[in-house]
Structures are given as C-alpha cells and as structure tokens.
Point group: C2
Chain length 391, copies 2
Amino acid sequence: MRLGHARAHIKKPDRKDVLVVAFDEGSTVAGVFTKNQFCAAPVLVCREHLKKHASVRALVVNTGCANAGTGAQGLADARATCEAAAKLIGCAPREVLPFSTGVILEHLPMDRLLAGLPACMAGLTADGWGDAAEAIMTTDTLPKAASRQIDIHGHTVTITGIAKGAGMIEPNMATMLGFIATDAVVGEDVLADMVKEAADLSFNAITVDGDTSTNDSFVLIATAQAGNPPINGEGTAEYAKLQEAVNAVAIDLAQAIVRDGEGATKFITVKVEGGQTREECMRIGKSIANSPLVKTAFFASDPNLGRILAAIGKARVKDLDTSKIRVYLDAVLVAEHGGRAESYREELGAAVMKQPEITIRVVLNRGIESGTVWTCDFSYDYVKINADYRS
Amino acid sequence: MRLGHARAHIKKPDRKDVLVVAFDEGSTVAGVFTKNQFCAAPVLVCREHLKKHASVRALVVNTGCANAGTGAQGLADARATCEAAAKLIGCAPREVLPFSTGVILEHLPMDRLLAGLPACMAGLTADGWGDAAEAIMTTDTLPKAASRQIDIHGHTVTITGIAKGAGMIEPNMATMLGFIATDAVVGEDVLADMVKEAADLSFNAITVDGDTSTNDSFVLIATAQAGNPPINGEGTAEYAKLQEAVNAVAIDLAQAIVRDGEGATKFITVKVEGGQTREECMRIGKSIANSPLVKTAFFASDPNLGRILAAIGKARVKDLDTSKIRVYLDAVLVAEHGGRAESYREELGAAVMKQPEITIRVVLNRGIESGTVWTCDFSYDYVKINADYRS
C-alpha cells in the first residue's frame, strides 16, 4: 500500500489537496456512507463500486470542493476521476473509489484535478501517511492519524488510518472522511461487518454541531499482505482481535475529530448507562451532546446543569421516569429524584467544568445497556469559522 | 380581565418579575405544554388544573427561576403559589395556573414570591398588558404583545396576547410562555381545539436553536364578556373567524420571538411546498432552520447555499427525489436537477442574503401540502448570551 499527494490548486494555491492511496492486487474494501439524501456524486460512485468483497486498487481524494449538489455533471466528473486514475494504475475504473470534501454546489475543476494525478502517482510511497493526513484537511487544524499492531498466529498485522473532519459530525458522520487500511488477510463479508461495528462505536458516536454532510465516507481496506491465515466470520478469537484493533483506530480518529472540532476548547464524554437499549442511551447522549445550550454552558465553564436535564427530557425516550435518573459531572453527583442532589454544591460543579476534559454520566436506572458519545463545547470561534468558511 | 405585577427580587433586584392576570368568574382556559419529560413543576400543576373546559380565575407568572429540576419541593412550591393566589382572589387553588421561567435546577424563593403577590393584586388594572409583557421577560430584549378585534354578530370581540422567549424555541416550544385572552363567549371544547391549531401554526413553527425547554406553555383564555352568541365547534363561520384571529395573534407573538432571537440579526422564513404531507414539509423546514451551518452562513450573508441542500437531505423524508427539488432564495432560483441552477449567479444570491428578511423556498414537487417555519441567523452574540446567561 502506497500513498502520494499533489498540490493541484483545487481551491487554494499551493496546498496538498489531492491524495491517491494505491493498493496491491488482491486488496478488498467495504465502507459506510452518509445517509444525507443530497449525497455527493463521489458517494454515489463509491456505492456503485463497492459490491460485496469488492476489489480495490486506489482511493482518490480531493479537498477544496465537495462535488455535491452538482447534478449529472458532478456524477460524470467523479466517474472521469476514476477512469483517469485507473488508466494511470492499470486497473478497472470500478476498482477506484473517489472521495471529495469542501464547498458544496460547486463543480470540480477537472482540468486541475486530473493534472494533479500523475504527481500523486509519481510520489507514491509506503510511508506517506503523514502527508496523506494533511492532504485531506479542510477546516481541520491538525492532521489525524492512528495506528495499531496486533499478532495473528505469529504474523504481525498492522491497522493504520487517517481521517478529516472538524464540524458537521452528526448524525452518522458528516464532512467526515475516514480511511483505515490493514494488511490482514480476511475472508469474504468480514470487512463489511467490521466497518459497520467500527463506525457505530466511533464516527457515529461523535458530534460537533449535529449537522450531517453530503460526503461522509468511512472505508476499511484489507491488502492481504500480512501472511496470516484468513480471518473469517464473527465468533473466532482472531476476528475479535482484529475488530477490536480496527475499533480502537477508528475511535482514536473520531476522538481526534472532536478534539479538533470547530472552535472547540473542551472535550466532553457523555456516558449514558442503565438504559433498556443502546439506542435509547445513544439518543439521550446525542440530545445532550447536540444541545447548543449545554455546549455554550461548557464553553463558559458554567455549571448550568439544568440544561443537561432539559436535554435528557427532550430526547423523547418512552416511559422515562425522570425521578430515577442520576446525573454526574465526573464523580460529582449533580441531580437525582428529579432535581438537584442534596450533596451538590456549585463549587463542586464549577471545579469540574474548568477542566479541559469532562465526563457527563447519566444513569437511567431502567436497564443494563449503555452508550457513549463524544463532543466538544460551542464557542465564539465556531460561529467565526463557519461564518467565514468560504472567504 | 385585569393584570398586575410586582418587583419581587426573584433573581435580580428591582425588576418586574411577578405577574398576576385575574379573570372574572365564568372564564375558561385551555393550553398546550412542553413535551420535555423533565418538565417543570408549574407545567405539572397546570396539567392537573386544566381539565376540559376548565374554569380559570388567575395566572401567576414569575421570571428569574424556572422551578424545573426541583423535584418534590418544586411541586410543593408551585402548589403553594396557587393556594396563596387563590386565597387573595377568593377562588379554588385549581382555578389558578402557575408559570415560571428562568434558571433551571434552582428552587423558587417562595418567601419573596409570595410577598410579591399582594402588590400584584393591589395593582390589577385592565390596561396592564404592557407591564405584563415586560414582567415575563428573561433574555428577551423587547416585550412582545399583539392584539386583534373582530366582529361576531354585531359584538366586538377582542383577542390580546403576550409572550416571552428568545432561545430554546423548538421543537414544540421552549422557554416560551404565551398567553392569549379573548372576551368571546365560546362553547365547550372550542378552546382546546383552537389552542392546538394556533400553537401548530405559530409557536410550533418557529425555532431559534433547536432546543426544547422544560417550561413551555401556551394558554388561551375566554372570559365570556363580549356578549356574542356562544361560538361552538368547527364548521361555523364564527368559529373560523375567531380561530383566524387567535392564529394571527399567536403568529405575531411567535414571529416577535424569532425577531428577538438570542443574537439574531436576520429574520428567515422557510417555506416548503409541494410535499405529500404538511408533516414532511415541516420536517424539512425545521432541518434547514435548525442547521447551525445554514444559520451561520446567513449571519455572514454568505450564499453558501449547498448547506441548504445538505439540510434538506438530512431530514430523512422517505423516497425524496432530490432531482425534482427546486430551491429559491426570495425570487432567485438557486438549485434544481440536484445541483446549482444554470441561471444562478453568486451576485444574485449575495444580494438577497444581505437583506434583514429573507425567504428560503423549497419546492419538493411531489404533492400539494406545504409548511412554513420561521427562524433567525446564528451570530457571535448567540454564544455570548448563552455563555454568560447566569453571570
């Protein structure tokens, strides 16, 4: 697996803005994509190319233009990108997956994009992950990469990923691109199951502003170079080991996105426990994590904790008994019996709120399921970044 | 009907913060309330007191403290408020409705609140609407009042209302209090139906930040003093006339809330037409109106209109054919065939975006239903107001 980038002047002069990731023959891929119905042309093309246990030879990623809201021309542009890359690589166009991120409703500058591909190919190198992470950034302030190694029957298996995204991270991923590759040898269907579980525990569990993009994509590639005996379906120890490592890389990347959330000054973990289903825990967790009032209170280090209760109450979980709910801020019990805990003192809450990393823990006391959501606070800079984005 | 206020120092010294609205015997009331499950104690008490065609003699409203997240003590405080007012008026406690707005998770200062009631009673006057509108404000910068007169069989019927609210206005009302009174003589059940329709077309059609409060309440009172022949169920011309006037007052108040939205600099109307159901039109309208990315783009007067498409796409309306959708900014066609309209020029969009009042019109081309949502932009000041609210 090798990576190469180019400075193709897609939107801004002289920045890394096109990335090619090339894979050896025998590589397979699975992915999950935005549920936004106005999804971008490259997402439509990815979905076409991604059949079961699909063969993949290259990813082509551009930043600066999302190729979304671009109609038939956008679709033709995404296909032409695949064809041009396939020609350079010597593979079928369906073995190339296109990804775009940036401004919506503008057409790709195809001449510049295609002119950049030979430079990407010429620069392909196995240790290009750092440059690759930079080449896919938009309003990100930091590149995002993570890696793990595990041992499968004496063979070292590596799992490495990069991601971009700093806003529009919910629900189910938004202006979020994530690419994780492993050299593991895996059987059919394994990747499709693994990418779904990893997405649910990572990119689908983060939120910056509750918006959902047209372009979100997360793909998992297996290059089959590690020499391990093939890993097959769920239930085996090897499967569990690989899934766990893929999850860990995905969670690292997802948390890096939240830490780099537009204007973020605090990293907030929302743990909801004691639910009847994971789904209801995640619903309450996201209701808290997406509340602008909760997020501005955290920015201000103001323990205005009633806003958390209001966010729980508006999640519309059926038959919720609010008198049974306990809310903690780190280890501080804030609310119980439908109101402020007797032991709670404002100074205790204020001390927790001042920290850069805070955990809100909600115990529903109605079941054994749980869910965790990661988010950030909501600052002046969020507005500034999004008001100024195109200028 | 008479109104009186007091400066009871609930939260801040020397501001109007308690309001009593007193009604003659024979007055009836109906209301709609927040769906937040952590709803405030006064909301629980209102629901108890509001039976079908309920008799009402007084509303007691305080600002400065929401009496929400206050458990059993909060409930006792709300009941004690009704009892104290009932004693002063000479009615049953269930004929008094309590309302609170302000900070959550703090107990009402009952001594100060109760001490304020005699001043409210002493100052009761028929022309106290202006002071009343001021006495219920929190982060509102302007008092909100509206009135209409209609003729019913030669009798002049007046409909007058006040409201407060500037944030947390969605879905289904939030830190929003609305009170509309009419002197019309109406039959049983009429008020319950009317208040629901008026709420759907007004307070439930506005959004400032997508948050939902614990205290939202909207009540409609009929004092039966106008001398008109009783207005009964739907279908009569008089019913339609009164409903239309109540709707108009409610929409005036709701729009005033949006215009005074926390940090708002622009008033945005989102009209969604050509839908299969009103519900799907409202869902898309609210998805646009609640998108922080759309709202910050409007604040910046930046025609980054792809964000509108993204907001339509994430509303998850089933079987939506994005290629059939047309999007207009005032009269400017922005998008069609899944992308930017050929006739669209950035200057045209930019010119519309600079205006203080803007209409986003989305034509779905799949049915005959429509829905309208009103919202405002999202500015630095929204963050400032909500980060500093308690200090």
